[in-house]
Symmetry: C2
């Protein structure tokens, strides 16, 4: 089959690799219907995270089950399934506590699983999925074509934006600022709207992303950053700041923006993978009673809640995909996102 | 009148100072019935925080109102009142948001208030209280003598322990570990019990404090610290950790203990005034989805909730006082706490 590998900075290649085979009894082989490129994939692509050896890449996909191991009981061949950006059993104490990203037996796409088998990266034609009954969620029936992008967001960005909002305690009437206008930040706007936020400010300086933010529920746009952005936010909220800030970038600057924007006693929900240098200034947080909650989003735990609203059209997070390419053009997909020609690229094997 | 001043390291003096006078219209003069020494008072006492000029000290007191300014309407002369460890108006947006420690017009005992008047330190005979209608809470009637210590804890330690528990989201059935066995840590045990925690581990290596912790609701005691303490906690909670850790110390070591003890997806409620070097390791928090909430406790916002239970004997946080001295022995009160001969010392003017 064909699968994507990263060889180094700006070196993405689609190559012939061995087809995966069932190996643990609890696994499944899934034929990928749609995959995509994540903002976090750009880190090794840009060389921010060095690539020391070529390896598979990609961690978001939906697909059709090809075959399942002997111990798999809930997932069946020909099911249409959504996979989170990691595998998990959904039976261990951490999964049951709602933190499936800390599954005691889980792992990551493109890496060996805990049982020694290889879980393929998602930017390919087939993926071997460990713990298929836990990792995968099947739709009630084969979804129509126009819902594929929205379903694909449940693998990562929509669940991650939702996690930011949940972690910040967004509820009916909350005032919210979203830092970051990538696919996750935009989904965080949608999540905040869905949870009942009364006012949602999207911090964005890109016209195309501002349009999506407005569609998703943003009531205000702030283009400034740093001190200028903080001043603009304070002005919008009576000099005090919003109840919640959703930090969807992961840099020192974005976290600083969040901490300095939120009101005393407010909360930051953060899901941006933290870059170096962003240790939290505890004395500043202490003095203002600002809470910091979030982390690597346990999106698997959110799929059951969000899926019905994608299926019935209540929410349309698939709107974040503004470019679709065949898998054969995966290198171009990376370049388009790197150069900000696209918010998020959907790939079709 | 007599009031306590700190002159420098281990140099506490009781001196004659001018009686306070009403000056802003909204203030009150309160005759102190009971005050006390706080763990945070030991920082300047020990020289950890340098004292550059002699100044008043003390921030916890209950007393009888002597006189009130012309604009004061709720508080009356002869009321028995509880003062939080700061003054606040309880009408500004931050106070109404539950964060009276960030009151837009509030201040601190022993410092000039925002209107330019001086708010006396609490370890004295009289205190001028700014924003009397906001800062002070009057009891329904003159309380009996045996309730004075419990009422005094509402000025700081009980409200602060409660804030740790609330910030960590302690609720019915939560499993909780409390780091720190000072008066705040012990009150955090009591607060967790009151909020319905099913299991409460007190980390303490002092027999006298363990006794109080047990009385307050601790189900287990762990004496170890550092890696040994973390291992003991993990073992008590199935290798995973508790839902909530209440950090009531404020050192790098205690916060590290909290972060490494709590379960994935759990929460830390912290109220220990952070010492230097305790910046939060965001990547570790991100990977495990551990939330960090808390800060300088808005105890004024909690008095109405906790007061009835102190008055009817449901909770007895006054148990943390194990030594009572006349104000004339205030220097000995500091020494007793510094040398850990007492958990907390009550002072009687």
């Amino acid at each position: 089959m064909l699968a994507t590998l990263i060889y180094g900075e700006r070196d993405i290649r689609l190559e012939e690799v061995p087809d995966p085979v069932l190996s643990t009894g609890g696994d499944a082989i899934v034929r990928v219907v749609a995959a995509c490129v994540c903002g976090s994939d750009l880190w090794p692509y840009r060389g921010v995270v060095p690539t020391t050896r070529a390896h598979r890449i990609g961690h978001e996909f939906v697909g059709i089950v090809d075959s399942v191991g002997a111990e798999v009981s809930k997932i069946k061949a020909r099911d249409f399934v959504i996979a989170p950006f990691y595998d998990c059993d959904m039976t261990c104490v951490n999964c049951l506590n709602g933190v499936s990203t800390s599954c005691l037996h889980g792992g990551w796409w493109g890496a060996d699983d805990r049982l020694g088998g290889f879980a393929d990266g998602a930017q390919g034609e087939l993926v071997r999925v460990p713990h298929a009954d836990g990792s995968l969620v099947a739709t009630p029936s084969l979804p129509p074509e126009h819902l594929i992008p929205g379903l694909l967001t449940l693998a990562d960005v929509m669940g991650t934006g939702h996690h930011a909002a949940v972690s910040a305690g967004v509820t009916k009437g909350s005032t919210v600022v979203v830092v970051g206008d990538g696919a996750v930040g935009l989904c965080a706007v949608l999540a905040a709207k869905r949870l009942g936020a009364s006012r949602i400010v999207a911090m964005s300086r890109h016209a195309d992303r501002q349009v999506v933010a407005r569609e998703f529920g943003a009531t205000d746009i702030v283009e400034g950053r740093g001190p200028e952005g903080i001043a603009a936010i304070k002005q919008l909220f009576g000099g005090i700041g919003p109840d919640c800030v959703l930090e969807c970038v992961g840099t020192k600057e974005s976290m600083d923006q969040a901490i300095k924007s939120v009101r005393p006693g407010g909360a930051i929900g953060y899901v941006g993978v933290p870059n170096g240098g962003s240790e939290l200034p505890i004395r500043e947080l202490f003095n203002t009673n600002v809470g910091v909650n979030g982390g690597v989003a346990p999106v698997r735990n959110y799929i059951e809640e969000l899926l019905p609203e994608v299926l019935d059209g209540t929410i349309n997070p698939g709107r974040v995909f503004d470019l679709e390419l065949p898998l054969t053009q995966v290198a171009e997909a990376y370049a388009a996102m790197d150069e900000r020609r696209a918010i998020k690229v959907l790939l079709r094997p």
